[in-house]
């Protein structure tokens, strides 16, 4: 695949290597770049869309409460405020539950279409974790077949961040790509054997 100018820019992603959160986020972004731009999987925004819908609902409710209270000052707006405040905090609770128990640490959902168009799509989940004050980056890749919740293949790997970030804080995209390609190929081979 020929490299575009975007690829050249992504090769020089620089991060603050002393900030663990920035390091993890930058590696997540690099893996996303590799999976979407270089390997060619299509990103699925299902989790992000759910978060967006919940946030939009919460913001609309807050705006409604504010506008109504401005036009009809308290106590005329009491019942509307009660309803809107309840709905807002319920929305925030649902969003927190969704992010904690459904989305967990998944930072990328991708879909791989079968080239021949015969087999069903493969759904890929990429989740990552870094313990506090630990330089190990743990990546879990799960491959699911479309429409099947039981047919899952999982591959996890742990790398030290110094394997993927050089002394100047630059991400080594090529190394990341090699590892990710290897994991995806292993999972594809495992699923075909099954």
């Amino acid at each position: 695949m020929s490299r575009s100018l975007d690829d050249d820019v992504s090769r020089i992603i620089k991060t603050n290597k002393w900030n663990q959160i920035r390091v993890k986020t930058s590696i997540d972004d690099a893996i996303r770049t590799v999976v979407i731009d270089r390997i060619g999987l299509k990103e699925s925004y299902k989790f992000l869309d759910v978060r967006l819908y919940i946030c939009i609902i919460a913001c609309v409710v807050a705006a409604t409460a504010t506008a109504f209270d401005y036009l009809n000052p308290f106590p005329a707006s009491k019942m509307v405020l009660i309803g809107c405040c309840s709905l807002y905090f319920i929305s925030v609770a649902v969003l927190t539950w969704f992010m904690t128990y459904v989305e967990k640490q998944i930072f990328l959902n991708a879909v791989g279409k079968d080239i021949a168009g015969i087999n069903p799509d493969n759904h890929w989940e990429f989740s990552s974790n870094m313990d506090k004050y630990d330089k190990s980056y743990k990546l879990i890749i799960v491959k699911r077949r479309h429409g099947s919740s039981s047919c899952n293949f999982e591959r996890s790997l742990t790398r030290s961040v110094e394997d993927w970030i050089d002394d100047n804080g630059l991400l080594l995209i090529d190394e990341i790509e090699n590892v990710i390609r290897g994991c995806i190929d292993e999972l594809l081979i495992s699923s075909k054997k099954e």
């Binding site: 100018l5 992603i13 930058s26 807050a62 209270d69 405020l81 807002y88």
Partner: protein, 187 residues
């Protein structure tokens, strides 16, 4: 041109935003809006719980010293079923004035049907508040009261006084908070 924008964004420190895509940028903006909305909804909830349009007020003058000093934070409620008593500290608004006043009830007159008229005075003032009332008004009524003081935090309101005296400080703090939320996304 696109490369130049990317280089500028990387230099400023917002390079992460460039790599996010439209959905994620929208989510970042919504997160920022929700930070403001959450504070707003907590305030509205306090309004409903305390039954007053101003659950928290800051003492702006020294007229109630030594009970309250300038910069103290007062927590109010305004339950209609609780009667107003002499000696209570009430927060009231005068017709034609925006800023509420925090003074003590000095005298109460009560009619047979339960309507009351009362007179207030600041602890640190030498005369009662009749000179502060509107023209032709000699007594306050229940509807003038926006809350009764139920608790206070000393000096907690000095930040509010500073932001009122220096509006640029308020805008600077809001802009800093917004930039901080955008920079530290999702964590």
């Amino acid at each position: 041109m696109a490369t130049l924008i990317k280089i500028v964004m990387e230099t400023v420190g917002l390079g992460d935003l460039m790599r996010l895509g439209f959905r994620r940028v929208l989510y970042q903006i919504l997160c920022l809006v929700m930070v403001v909305s959450t504070a707003l909804m907590i305030w509205k909830s306090l309004i409903v719980i305390t039954c007053t349009e101003s659950p928290i007020v800051v003492v702006l003058s020294g007229s109630m010293e030594p009970a309250f000093y300038r910069g103290d934070l007062l927590m109010l409620n305004n339950y209609q079923e609780e009667p107003i008593r002499v000696g209570e500290i009430v927060v009231f608004k005068i017709r034609g004035r925006e800023i509420p006043i925090v003074h003590r009830v000095l005298r109460i007159h009560e009619d047979k049907n339960g309507t009351i008229k009362f007179l207030t005075k600041g602890d640190n003032n030498s005369v009662d508040d009749r000179s502060l009332y509107a023209d032709g008004q000699f007594w306050l009524e229940r509807k003038d009261v926006i809350g009764r003081a139920r608790g206070f935090l000393p000096y907690a309101g000095m930040v509010t006084i500073a932001m009122n005296d220096y509006p640029k400080l308020k805008y600077f703090m809001l802009a800093s908070m917004g930039f901080f939320v955008l920079e530290n996304r999702e964590n």
